[in-house]
């Protein structure tokens, strides 16, 4: 149970950090914010990597493998498309 409480503490504090940082982001950048934060939420890739590489039953490995593919699309695609968008804002700024 202690681990859960620690987890919830971290969750609550990180949420506050998120609120503080993100309320300062101007409306102009809201779409890149969504795609960028979405790329970051692809961090689930780390969980997928462990599942895909473990010595678990093949079902667990297969699910992990699929999750690795999906999360990598999310991460790689998300960061690149955010970069493309932000580069446009940069050009004439």
């Amino acid at each position: 149970m202690e681990i859960v409480v620690t987890g919830l503490t971290i969750f609550a504090l990180a949420s506050f950090v998120g609120f503080e940082v993100i309320t300062k982001i101007p409306a102009t950048l809201h779409t890149p914010l969504m795609s960028g934060s979405n790329a970051i939420s692809g961090i689930i890739l780390t969980g997928a990597v462990i599942a895909a590489g473990s010595q678990d039953p093949s079902l667990a490995k297969t699910l992990g493998f699929i999750a690795v593919i999906l999360a990598t699309v999310n991460v790689v695609g998300g960061f690149i498309v955010t970069h493309r968008m932000l580069a446009m804002f940069h050009k004439r700024g």
Binding site: I3, V4, T6, G7, F11, S15, F16, V17, G18, F19, V21, T23, I25, P26, A27, T28, L29, T31, P32, L33, M34, N38, A39, I40, S41, I43, I44, L45, T46, G47, A48, V49, I50, A51, G53, S54, D56, L59, A60, K61, G64, F65, A67, I69, L70, A71, T72, V73, N74, V75, V76, G78, I80, V81, M85, L86, F89, H90, K91, G93
Partner: protein, 466 residues
């Protein structure tokens, strides 16, 4: 090295990654630092993923590298080739992928523990169920959102009986496998039942939501994709997943709040009630539009001869007509003649938060020309001309004047305060709220009928000639 040491190093890397993510988001607070912020975020991701490869549970990295290679190729192809027009779809799809990846990771966690004596702790099962529900809703909700952005016919035609009662019923049904999963002997079976019901719920929840409300839904699904990752963090007892999920969850929630406020509606109101369907052409449209004045590109060009300040207000129609490049040409031409041109951007113009800004940035409009609603409104009275391209409900003065209107109280861009208002529009058809817009018939309003892009090009031509 002993496992404990490796774990410590990995956790240290995770802390580093979390710091990079927060620093990266901080970079997004200004367009000048935003590119660097995004790069910081990707470095954080690289650190986290590479560190994870040494996790003590990993015995074989072949599947990992194969999956990453496939995913990276798909990701690069999608991100590099897709035009800005399809950006709402792409953002929704990435949201959905994050959600469904959480579903599979939690599913793998259940699958590895069945069949032997290893018991999954109750709190872990609760987190697994949460991952399944949030991930399932996110994925299927995002798919429906993609369908709505693409205006697929069958999505528009699909109607579910029961509306909100159906969703409430599904929510209750969801409880059964959820409780079974936490308490029962077969968590794996129960888990996939949870995912199944959550998937249906994702579809039925997003399906009835109208196009104009989509910015709220996209922002909310963005938040969910983060919460799904956080829930999986509780499953794997991985603090970095929890931190990152919380950051993204908070980000999406803030955007949701901003979008709701920009429509003067509560989140519950957006999710659980829709504008009256019969809207279409309401009874007294003809009466309202009796005094409408139509104009020509030449006449507008003449009026612009004496103008000093112009405000352009884009809406979803500009995205549909792909008129942003023509609009940029117009803006450049006017500025070359000493006219100050600003763009008034309503927070919910378009289909996702910041949609108009991205399109205009794509067309090379300077970002200091993009002015938010609350900053442009005080300047509206000084504008010689407001040019509205493909926006309707967000400039409808009924929001201020008619308390019984469905958009009553919604903050709007006060274009009617400009000396002359030019509305570029195909016809007098109503916007998504399905209500008439008295702006079109106002004394100082001129209607320039036509396709958004062509009308702007004609206007540019007329100014150059005159």
């Amino acid at each position: 090295m002993p496992n404990a040491t490796i774990d410590t190093i990995i956790n240290f890397c995770y802390l580093l990654a979390a710091i990079f993510f927060i620093a990266g988001l901080k970079g997004l607070t200004h367009p000048r630092t935003a590119v660097r912020g995004n790069i910081l975020g990707s470095i954080g991701m690289l650190i986290a993923v590479v560190a994870t490869l040494w996790h003590h549970d990993i015995v074989d990295r072949r599947m990992i590298f194969a999956g990453m290679a496939i995913g990276a190729v798909i990701g690069v192809l999608l991100a590099v080739n897709i035009g800005m027009k399809l950006m709402p779809q792409l953002v929704a799809m990435f949201n959905g992928f994050g959600g469904i990846a959480s579903v599979f990771v939690a599913g793998a966690e259940v699958a590895r523990d069945t069949g032997d004596s290893r018991q999954i702790a109750t709190q872990t099962l609760v987190a697994i169920v949460a991952s399944g529900i949030i991930g399932g809703v996110t994925f299927w909700g995002s798919l429906v959102a993609i369908g709505k952005f693409s205006e697929w016919d069958f999505i528009e035609r699909l109607k579910f009986p029961g509306g909100q009662i159906l969703n409430a019923a599904l929510g209750l049904v969801l409880l059964a496998p959820a409780i079974w999963c936490v308490n029962g002997a077969h968590p794996a079976v129960a888990y996939w039942l949870v995912v199944l019901v959550a998937s249906i719920l994702g579809v039925t929840m997003v399906m009835p939501i109208g196009g104009a409300d989509m910015p709220v839904v996209v922002a909310l699904l963005n938040s969910y994709s983060g919460l799904a990752a956080a829930a999986t963090g509780f499953v794997l007892q991985n603090n970095m997943l929890i931190i990152t999920g919380a950051l993204v969850g908070a980000s999406g929630l803030i955007l949701t709040q901003i979008m709701c406020r920009a429509m003067n509606r509560t989140l519950a109101n957006v999710l659980f009630s829709t504008f009256s369907e019969e809207g279409g052409s309401s009874r007294d449209d003809d009466g309202i539009y009796a005094t409408t004045k139509s104009t020509s590109a030449e006449e507008v060009a003449m009026l612009l001869d004496t103008a000093r300040r112009v405000v352009i207000v884009p809406g979803y129609g500009m995205a549909v007509a792909q008129a942003q490049h023509a609009v940029r040409d117009l803006s450049d031409l006017l500025e070359s003649r000493g006219i100050k041109v600003d763009f008034g951007i309503h927070p919910v113009a378009g289909r996702m938060p910041g949609h108009m800004n991205v399109l205009l940035a794509e067309a090379n409009v300077r970002y200091d020309q993009l002015v938010e609603m609350q900053d442009i409104n005080p300047r509206m009275a000084q504008a010689d001309m407001a040019i509205i391209i493909g926006a309707n409900d967000v400039v409808n003065p009924l929001a201020r004047t008619d308390p019984s209107s469905p958009i009553a109280g919604m903050p709007i861009i006060d274009v009617d305060k400009a000396r002359t208002v030019v509305v570029i529009k195909r016809s007098l058809s109503p916007g998504f709220a399905g209500i008439a817009n008295p702006l079109f018939a106002a004394e100082n309003t001129l209607m320039l009928f036509g396709d958004g892009r062509q009308a702007v090009l004609d206007l540019v031509g007329a100014i150059e000639e005159g």
